[in-house]
């Protein structure tokens, strides 16, 4: 007994069977039980000193009952047979008219991850974690004497120097070239969210009903890949037990596949693409991205600046968001440079990119051969659920995006 106690000590095949039977006692298409325990370590280094140390041990379980488009979900922080049985009863009450209960069959299945993890930091002794933080702090301070304050949270990162010299951002539409790697947040927000099957099934996404039609420039292939090696969004199985897979969502600019979970898949008569994810046992699964990227093109990245008399090079994007109904999206540009006559010139500060997904994706006129997928950062929020994701792209050139900033 104690921390790290196996979930199987509480949930064996017999108790799981009984809980799921209770969940489906009033009828329903499917039910699942999701139990979880985590052990988290967090260390904050502030102004060169270890500021706080935290251990977290959240643990609990939730029961979901699904009937067509209806979901009942209840969870308990207390991981006991009785509390989960109560949760099953509450979840089953979503079924308003009692129907015949289906027999259930619980079998054990083992899925192995399609990759091996490199350097699993959580397994490192505390001394090693503290060492990483101290080295990061020293490196940040050594970078430039103008760095006066550094705060590092373990498993997070610090940046950056050039911004202090930057001039204010311009305003208006102009050609934009986005750097490889993290720039993939653009595809994540602009098309990725609209591909998720819940908005498709409800008809609220701008991509609903557009399978087989053009949604981006013919140069564009968009991939969502749960099997990318060491990706933040990689997994052997999603949170509904479906295997993680590589899905080509857009090919040659044509919409091929949505990102599908089991419930919305049933309603759309499409197979799950292994995209049913949840933040923890406190949440029910919803369709989410994994590692999403624009696939590599054929252009030499340097050549993508050619012929631009005045434009913006986004070296580093910040956060972004999208409204999937209208397709209106926005991004902060954390590090940007003017492009003048095909060359990068002065840094630009405080710019944002805004646009409409479909219009903007049609305006991709060049894709580099330098694909990079970020595997160290990226957390996506939807419906109050935060999950780790990967994003990526090669260098991408847009003929025009509206850039906002303090000066004209």
């Amino acid at each position: 007994m104690g921390i790290g106690q196996e979930l199987r000590d509480v949930l064996n095949e017999e108790t799981v069977n009984r809980i799921l039977q209770e969940a489906l006692a009033r009828g329903g298409d499917a039910a699942d039980l999701f139990a979880e325990q985590r052990f988290r370590t967090s260390i904050v280094l502030d102004s060169g000193k270890i500021d706080s140390v935290t251990y977290g041990y959240p643990r609990g379980g939730g029961v979901r009952v699904v009937l067509r488009n209806q979901t009942g979900y209840a969870f308990s922080d207390e991981l006991t047979y009785n509390s989960l049985l109560d949760a099953a009863r509450v979840a089953s009450s979503v079924v308003e008219t009692q129907s015949r209960a289906n027999p259930i069959d619980v079998t054990r299945r083992t899925l192995l991850p399609p990759f091996t993890l490199v350097n699993p930091e959580p397994l490192m002794p505390e001394a090693g974690k503290l060492d990483i933080l101290r080295r990061m702090d020293a490196a940040a301070r050594a970078a430039d004497p103008r760095i006066v304050s550094v705060r590092i949270e373990y498993m997070d990162d610090v940046r950056d120097v050039l911004i202090m010299e930057a001039g204010p951002a311009p305003a208006g539409p102009m050609p934009v070239v986005v750097a490889p790697g993290w720039g993939g947040v653009l595809i994540h927000e602009s098309l990725g969210h609209a591909l998720e099957a819940d908005g498709i099934r409800r008809g609220t996404s701008l991509l609903a009903g557009l399978q087989g039609t053009r949604v981006a420039s013919p140069l564009v292939r968009v991939v969502d890949d749960a099997r990318w090696p060491n990706g933040r969004g990689s997994y052997a199985m999603d949170d509904e037990g479906a295997p993680g897979q590589r899905t080509v969502a857009v090919e040659g600019g044509i919409l091929q596949s949505y990102l599908v979970d089991k419930q919305n898949g049933r309603l759309l008569t499409q197979k799950s693409t292994g995209n049913g994810r949840r933040m923890s046992y406190r949440n029910w699964p919803i369709p989410r991205m994994t590692n999403t990227y624009i696939d590599k093109g054929t252009s030499d990245p340097a050549s993508l600046l050619n012929g631009i008399t005045k434009g913006l090079y986004a070296a580093e994007l910040g956060g972004g968001s999208v409204e999937t109904t209208s397709g209106n999206f926005n991004f902060a540009v954390r590090e940007g440079y003017w492009i003048e006559n095909g060359k990068l010139t002065r840094p630009v500060r405080g710019a944002v990119l805004v646009g409409n997904s479909l219009e903007t994706m049609q305006r991709i006129e060049g894709i580099g051969n330098d694909l990079k997928v970020e595997t160290t950062r990226g957390t996506c929020g939807k419906d109050g659920q935060q999950v780790p994701v990967g994003v990526g792209q090669p260098t991408v050139r847009f003929s025009s995006i509206t850039v906002g900033g303090p000066s004209i």
Binding site: K49, Y55, W284, T402
Partner: protein, 448 residues
Amino acid sequence: MPRQPAYDLADKVRVQAERSGAQEVETYLETNTTIEVRIRQGQLELLSQSAIQGLGLRMFRDRRMGFFYTTDLRETVLTELVNRTLALTNEATPREENKLPEYLASSQSDLEIYDPAVVQLRPEDLVKMARAAEDSAFAKNERIQTTRDVRCGASLYEVFFSNTFIARQTFRATSVWLAATPIATEGAQKREGTYVDRKRFLSDLARPEQIGERAAERALARLGAAAVASGRVPVVFSAEAAAIFLQGLLPALSALNVIEQRSFLAGKIGQAVAGPSVTIIDDGTMRRGLGTRYFDGEGVQTHRTVLVERGILRQYVHSAATARRMNVPATGNGIRSYDSLPTIGPTNFYIDAFSKTRPLIEDVAQGLYVNGLAGFGMDTVSGEYSQQVDGHWIEKGVLAKPVEGVTVAGRLDEMLLGIDAVGRDLDFRNNIASPTIRFKELTVGGAA
């Protein structure tokens, strides 16, 4: 509902940590029971119930701090966590401010944050309210044929607190909410609009019909929106947009950020930082307020703090530690849940209503009225601001045409000083609120 034994357990673990070598220990036990339903096209799409019960324990030893949280309240687990955390605490750096606040929370009058009527709400009651809101959105206009969803929920929240110096103290609070997001359609164009009301008391919640209707109006108003030309013009932020703006401003008023030189408002106490019609208040004692509580996450009694008074910066927002460092009284803004350390956060945080001397929109010849804000372009360290907005173009004092796909931008210090009008339409539907405000001039980035 938390059960008495969990309280006793929290006390027992605290004593155990004290005996194991921690000099000061604080326990924070929180329970939260929430029911929410979501309706779409008249049908129940989601019924969810959550039962949260977690314990956070903060300990200090020789001015070093350690913390753990868990939802697993078995005694063996708690003992193991106390021991592991004490060991890791030895690695932390001693800091002068690493100690518990000394003040005791004194008794306060009834702040009216608990409504038994909310606790009694059943899922079928919530479904009924949500359906009524959706029906009224559909009834508003034939271009509203669908909704993203309508959500209605109720929660009961209870806190138990004790530390080495303070006897146990508790409070409980309720909240109830209704949020409608209908979608307006015209040809291939779809636009959604959301209206949310959230209150402590069921009787204070707006009627579902009113919520549905207002949400529908918002979605309809966005149809046919287009970008406008770039330029520098007067910009009016609706009450909701102003509240989002204010929320983004909070880090600049955080005393920790000020101390660490991470705020553009550092060193400006006593100076004019905003237009003379701007008063910004944080009030943890407001009756029935959504951010109201008897004590904060460190056991400090909540206060009403005037941060900006008629444009003059008077005070920052403090946790117990920053108050000690800056040698001022604590403001009761150590906000937390059981799974986090107290950080500086808002209680009821708002721009006060100003008695309107001039109409806000009526005397704008040409400008932008902003309804919605999106994006991460607010930097309270450097003071840079730019966000994606939608709203309406103002022509000769009236809302002339819907606008989207544009940005507004400025420098935060200049923007605040340039607020030249504040409305009186302050309405708390969240713990952060503002009346309509007007910026004399901002940069709008749009079409060429």
